[in-house]
């Protein structure tokens, strides 16, 4: 897999889908994201944004999860792998 993705998860619009290419976060947050399923090649869909625009709701590995946009910025995605 090459590092083609320069878009981050936070750049996706509600309804858009993409594939995780890299998790840039460090430390605790990185491990948490990995454990929750943000591994290379995982499909993720942005379901919606919260009423105040942050956090965002995602679907990954068949379940729903919410992330703050600043956390989403640490996840690189590409349209297709």
């Amino acid at each position: 897999m090459s590092h083609v993705g320069t878009r981050t998860l936070s750049d996706l619009q509600p309804g858009e889908e993409a594939v995780v290419t890299e998790v840039l976060a460090k430390g605790k947050i990185r491990h948490r994201l990995l454990e929750m399923g943000f591994i290379r090649g995982a499909r993720v869909k942005v379901e919606k944004l919260a009423p105040l625009g942050d956090p965002m709701e995602l679907v990954i590995k068949g379940y729903h999860l919410s992330l703050r946009r600043e956390e989403g910025q640490c996840i690189l995605v590409s349209e297709e792998s």
């Binding site: 929750m36 919606k48 944004l49 009423p51 709701e57 379940y63």
Partner: protein, 727 residues
Amino acid sequence: MTTLALAGNPNCGKTTIFNALTGSRHHVGNWPGVTVERRSGTFESPAGPVEVVDLPGTYSLSARSEDERIASQFVADPSVDLIVNVLDASNLERNLYLTTQLLELKKPMVFALNMMDDVERQGATIDLEVLGALLGGPVVATVGNRGDGVDALKAAIHRVVAGADPSLDPCQWPPRVTYGEDFEGEVRKLAQELRRDEKLTEELPARWLALRLLEGAPDGLEQVRTSHARQAIDLQLQASRTFLEGHLGADCGTLIAERRYGFSRGLVKEVMTRQGGQGRTATDRIDAVLTNRILGIPIFLALMVVMYTLTFVVGRIPQDGIASGFAWLHDAAAARLPAGELTSLLVDGVIPGVGSVMVFLPVIMILMGCVSFLEDTGYMARAAFVMDRLMHLMGLHGRSFIPLIMGMGCNAPAIQATRTIEARSDRFITILVSPLISCSARLPVYILLAGAFFTPFKGAMAVVAMHVLGFGLAIVVGKVLRLTLFRNENTPFVMELPPYRLPVLRTTLLHMWEKGSVFIRKAGTVIFAGATLVWFLSNYPGITNRAWAAELHAQEEAVRAQHLPEAEEKEKLEDLAFAHHGRIMNSSLAARFGHALQPVFRPILDPDRTRTESWKDGVALTAGFVAKEIVVGTMAVVHQARAEAPEGLEGSPLQQTLRERSGLTPLTALAFMIFTLIYTPCLGTVGMILKETRSWRWTGLSVGYGLALAWVLSWGTVVIGRFLGFA
């Protein structure tokens, strides 16, 4: 006795399985040294009693949070004979991630595939036989909230405990999850180094420990730090990491996570067959409304209003019932027992003390019931989702909103409700700022002072201003704490939005009962001790003065001798008792304490140094440290003026006295209100803070900063007010 650990993700229905297994035979406590709840219970199996320990729900065992550390430490402990892994069948792939870690322990395991009804509704099937064979333990389908499959689960546990199936001998298992040749090679090398220290591998499989080191789990590194083979292990660990990262193009943590998810994905593919695509689920349809961009916040606020009303308005009914019950008990005891110190202790100390604890019970139980209901339906995560942006601005988590709002009713249960906040820093900041939210017990103090010193309109504005000031301070203090004491604790928000589910009534009721009894035990003892102390301080030494008692008796006889109409006689007798009480109070230890405090309060309550009665404020505010409910009553006694307004008159005698004789001015009365708002709300809250932080330091900080901030802000108000020409 066999010990069984119940492990699983949050929201997998573990608690319902726990309740179904143990029935009512369980005990709730805390894990040593932390505030994470520890539930354990027993059930009888044909092979004897089985102890079930419910682990905190976690997504992994990496020990990066308090919950995970406890869970990983406990499952790895040799005292655990068997692990029951509860899996949410409708979210199998992610749930199996934890399983991959549990399997490394090589302990006998049983798998409860919970929420099977959801899977069936989605038109999917899971092959339990194949899943069991691949995981190496019996798999039982359960529907926890209906109790389905619980007997089968018990039977499976018994089979494993009794060793009826030799194919289930865990020591013979090959590793279930393999990490590829390069990786396994390094794991073997590291395991070999670990075996140099027998103490390390005596209780834990070397492979488990090696994987934890490669993963960078803090507790694994901690265990090795004290080993005599530390240097060899560290060297190998560094070498392995460098090799793997160079060779496989990612850090070990990522590689491990990818392999584990690879395993669980493969497993799900193998055992699960779906018919047709997944359509919109019920949860999607509900969320289209509840977290809607326009409707989300109004619906949340409406639910908060309902919850608040249920707790503090409906809860008022049993509360008043309990209060009048204790009032009756008080009157009955006072009428029947002979006058004396012991009677006074019972009648004026113990009975009101116990009463003041018991009246909180309905409020606590209803509030905790609501919180538990919202949590179990899955709405709590949505509430956090909707409110997080706002709360994040003040350095808090979306989940902090509910405790803060409920603090307007009573701070003590609000602090108890912070349990739903996962990260330590978010939880502690919420606990530390909650006392700033003006609770309902402070209202009578504001009303008393505002009514005495301001016009009705200005008075109402002052009362509103106190509530706004409380919230404003909570925001500022929260932000300051985040930037100072908690600046290094950056916690991820990453939060699951679980499917909506109907809560089990029994679970909610059990939760209410547990929280209620915890409150009675912890906060209750503190409040009770405080009430007794206040009684002692405000009655001694005057209560032992025989001459005064004789005087009172003579006066009472004189009134009775006049043969007045009953109502009038009663009123006169009450006045006498009230005056007697005031005499004791104004010469008591509490009064002396008030005098001693005079210099402290002088700058804010007596800036001109002209008041002779300012010590009375000190007495009232000190009593208010125990509970704000007794401030007005104490002021009535020390000022010898009743707080109840006579019929047909506006304003009570106490308000008149305060205005005309106490020497307080509108400005110093405002300072009094601000001080009341900010300083420690009550001993019950202090008790809850101590219980929830398990630390005298944090509790001390809460009390200390409350007092300091209260003094500084009320002093500032007086200084600025006088500068602007107010009096």
